[in-house]
């Protein structure tokens, strides 16, 4: 198979290596790719830019044969093709290094490469692959211990194994999904030099990233995606960082913002929070902020910059390594467990709706009433009084317009995203909390459901709660924020008043100031 790949006619420089037309891909009723066109020329490095969730990985997974598109056409070196599995992609000379590496942790580097590149019998394969790997490593200037277990190698080393793996398989269309997210600047520079080397000998490289500077300085062309659509393809000379930011985050007209009428005293004060995760990665580097009664504080930023960890620290799921959290009237609350914090008036809408916020196998009533059960509102330790519980749940379902509930005994897992979220909000707001932490509460919701969620957040603010809204969606931030913080690399790097223009915020988000 790799033989077949190598015997393909030499690619003509500048001719299209890959052409995608009208690619559409849906997951359930969510449209991840909407009629996307994309083309890649031989010998070029093509950057694919876009926010998290724009559809970059999905588009590239279609090329790699991992996702079957609903419809659309693909041509490779001018020939129409059907890619129905990773095997097909490999035969066409397509190799992808995934955002989450496809490596077997318990195998050695050599075994991982062999798994991908069988060459004759097992013995032959072992020697052939070892030689080929040594060659590839030489050419790329990599040094990798082929006999080390994969899970003992550092992340950049794992990445090198992935690249060698696809090059040995004869890939000439090389797709790299956010390769530099895991590299230091120095490593990234070497990495780009190696990729340029590959492009110069006629290969083509897709570089998926959300770092503008990389796209501008290393790519021959740039394509921007947003919301599952291709927005624009341009040469780096034709665009600058500002234009790209705008293309990436969009300039949709903002619905009417409704700023707070009265902002009160600070309710929650956070200072110097630091957190290193179990894998030794520093996630929070001194987060300081305060939340006032009657305001919505929006934390903007690209996902994965410490937002999840901040929420976990604030809600007591993970105690921070350093720093303190104060709740007005209760003093220091750092490190208190979630149930204590809840009783002090802190509510949370986690980003993982079905995983963290709801127990899908339990009924709507049980999901709604769990807080009340713990507080003893529906009976004591020995028995739960189901009737008042069901009645309270039914009332909340009506008030918060949770649709698709046939009975309070229906499983919560069957609710659609928007309705599941409304149920979570109904529960979280039922105790009239003084602080609300909401993490991407409208992610994946349609416009109507998102508007309903926004309405509930505003209502909470108007009854003097302090709301911390963490969002990657700038439209949402601009719509709701009374104050805006921008989070990047585990810090709050900038704060703006509500109504600041999106370009300024966008710039702070991508770190191009």
């Amino acid at each position: 198979m790799s033989q077949a790949a190598r015997s393909r006619a030499p690619a003509e420089a500048g001719a299209p290596a890959l052409r995608m037309k009208g690619i559409t891909k849906t997951f359930g009723d969510f449209v991840a790719l909407d009629e996307v066109d994309f083309d890649l020329r031989n010998g070029e490095i093509h950057a694919l830019l876009g926010e998290n969730g724009a559809g970059k990985s999905t588009l590239m997974n279609v090329v790699a044969g991992l996702y079957a598109p609903d419809h659309g056409d693909i041509e490779v070196q001018g020939t129409p093709v059907r890619i129905s599995g990773p095997q097909d992609a490999r035969l066409l000379g397509i190799g992808m290094v995934h955002q989450h590496y496809k490596l077997v942790g318990g195998f050695t580097a050599l075994e991982n490469i062999m798994l991908f590149n069988p060459r004759g019998s097992f013995r032959q394969s072992r020697t052939a692959v070892r030689t080929a790997a040594a060659d590839a490593a030489d050419k790329l200037g990599f040094r990798v211990d082929l006999d080390a277990r994969m899970d003992r190698l550092s992340v950049p080393e794992q990445q090198r194994v992935e690249i060698m793996k696809i090059l040995i398989a004869g890939a000439s269309i090389i797709i790299l999904d956010e390769p530099t997210a895991v590299l230091t600047d120095a490593e990234a520079q070497k990495f780009f030099a190696a990729m340029r080397g590959l492009a110069e000998i006629g290969n083509s490289v897709v570089l998926v990233t959300h770092r503008l500077s990389e796209a501008l300085s290393y790519a021959d062309r740039i394509t921007v995606m947003r919301g599952g659509r291709r927005i624009r393809t341009a040469h780096p000379e034709e665009v600058d960082a500002d234009t790209l930011t705008e293309l990436i985050v969009g300039t949709r007209i903002v619905e009417k913002p409704a700023p707070s009428e009265h902002v009160g005293a600070p309710v929650l004060t956070v200072s110097g929070l630091e957190l290193t995760d179990a894998g030794g990665v520093v996630r929070l580097r001194g987060v300081t902020l305060d939340l006032h009664a009657g305001e919505i504080y929006c934390l903007a930023g690209i996902g994965g910059n410490g937002q999840t960890e901040l929420v976990e620290a604030l809600t007591g799921l993970v105690p921070p390594d350093a720093g303190r959290i104060d709740l007005a009237g209760h003093g220091k609350v750092t490190g208190l467990p979630p149930d204590r914090l809840r009783r002090l008036g802190l509510a949370c809408i986690p980003s993982d709706r079905q995983g963290q916020a709801l127990a899908g196998d339990l009924t709507v009533a049980e999901n709604f009433a769990i807080g009340g059960v713990l507080a003893g509102r529906f009976g004591g330790a020995l028995a739960v009084r189901r009737k008042p519980m069901a009645e309270a749940a039914a009332a909340a379902v009506r008030d918060f317009e949770v649709m698709g509930v046939r009975s309070a005994r229906q499983k919560a897992g069957l609710l659609s995203g928007g309705n599941a979220q409304k149920l979570v909000i109904a529960r979280e707001f039922s105790g009239a909390p003084s602080v609300i932490v909401a993490h991407s509460p409208s992610r994946g919701l349609d416009v109507r459901a998102a508007a309903a969620v926004h309405g509930h957040l505003r209502a909470a603010r108007d009854r003097k709660a302090a709301v911390l809204l963490i969002s990657e969606d700038l439209d949402e931030v601009l719509l709701l924020a009374d104050r805006i913080g921008v989070m990047r690399s585990g810090r709050i790097v900038a704060e703006f008043p509500g109504g600041t223009d999106r370009r300024t915020i966008g710039r702070a988000m991508v770190g191009h100031d």
Binding site: L66, V104, G106, N112, M114, F116, F122
Partner: protein
């Protein structure tokens, strides 16, 4: 001295079912499919062997073959449930046990197989080697399945590390996403592993009746399937270690009747309890020693579907 010798010479037939069943279970689990149905597969194999002899007049060897086929057939049901339909693997495994218990007991009675004895499989005395003192009787005058078991275990240990198929099988159980991206047909490998593994468990079950007991009674496997599940954990999914574990459990089982015969007084029920106590001990020890499922396939119990988010 006599006691020791007698005991050692009797370990192999007791160890064989453990070793075969552990190997079968291990092959299944190497592919990432958690199989709690072992007890059920053993039972079906045990009954099928008896049925083949009593109703079809099959030779012992043929009866063992039929035991393998019967379990393989039952495993198709399990495979479809956990691989194609992606039913919870724990529940599916337990369902297989209950199904097999009911089915074997019913068939045994309605077909008139229960409590009827028959003649089993003769031993093979390997010429020359069996005349060696000590080892001759312990190792070289056993039944053919004993030798087959040794060959299978050594072959499996080698093949898992040194063949494409072995490596792919392991990759499917370690990281099905990676295996899939490498173009390996994940579902096919899992299907094959389930069926092959079940056939070996069927051989183990058939061995219990066709070679050892020469009779069928309800639940004749006596929980060996559950012990095997512990054994595989204890052996960290390594065939050679499983062989050692099988000898350990076989040794305990072999000592029970012999201890009683020497007149050395130990409460009978305590002796019978020993294998299960040891199982408990092994489980406690292995969870203390390496917390969690050390050595096990990383994706054990996880269904796989290409486009599904996890």
């Amino acid at each position: 001295m006599d006691f020791l010798f007698n005991w050692l010479a009797n370990i192999p037939p007791f160890a064989v079912p453990y070793a075969l069943a552990a190997l079968g279970l291990m092959i299944c689990e190497k592919s990432g499919v958690l199989n709690l149905g072992a007890e059920g597969f053993l039972l079906v194999g045990a009954l099928a062997g008896v049925g083949a002899i009593l109703s079809a007049g099959a030779s012992p060897a043929a009866a063992l073959g039929i035991a393998m086929l019967a379990t393989a057939a039952l495993s198709l049901l399990f495979a479809v449930m956990v691989i194609a339909l992606r039913v919870n693997q724990v529940i599916s495994g337990l369902a297989i046990v209950f199904l097999a218990q009911g089915l074997t007991s019913l068939l045994g009675r309605t077909q008139g197989w229960t409590s009827r004895s028959f003649s089993g499989m003769p031993r093979i005395e390997i010429p020359w080697l069996s005349d060696l003192p000590w080892v001759g009787r312990i190792l070289f005058s056993q039944d053919p399945v004993f030798y087959l078991t040794l060959v299978l275990i050594v072959f499996a240990a080698w093949a898992l590390r040194n063949t494409h198929v072995g490596m792919r099988l392991r990759s499917v159980g370690e990281n099905p996403e990676a295996a899939d991206a490498a173009g390996i047909p994940v579902a096919l490998y899992r299907f094959g592993a389930v069926v092959l593994g079940a056939a070996l468990m069927g051989l183990a079950g058939g061995y219990l009746t066709v070679v050892i007991s020469n009779i069928w009674v309800d639940n004749i496997t006596g929980g060996r399937g559950w012990i095997v599940i512990a054994l595989v954990i204890f052996a960290r999914w390594q065939p050679l270690a499983a062989l050692a574990g099988a000898v350990l459990f076989g040794g305990i089982e072999a000592v029970i009747p012999r201890l009683a015969a020497t007149g050395f007084w130990v409460p009978q029920h305590f002796l019978l309890m020993l294998p299960y106590l040891l199982t408990l001990g092994v489980m406690v020890w292995s969870s203390l020693a390496r917390r969690g499922r050390g050595g096990g396939p990383a994706a054990l119990g996880d269904p796989f579907l290409r486009e599904e988010r996890r």
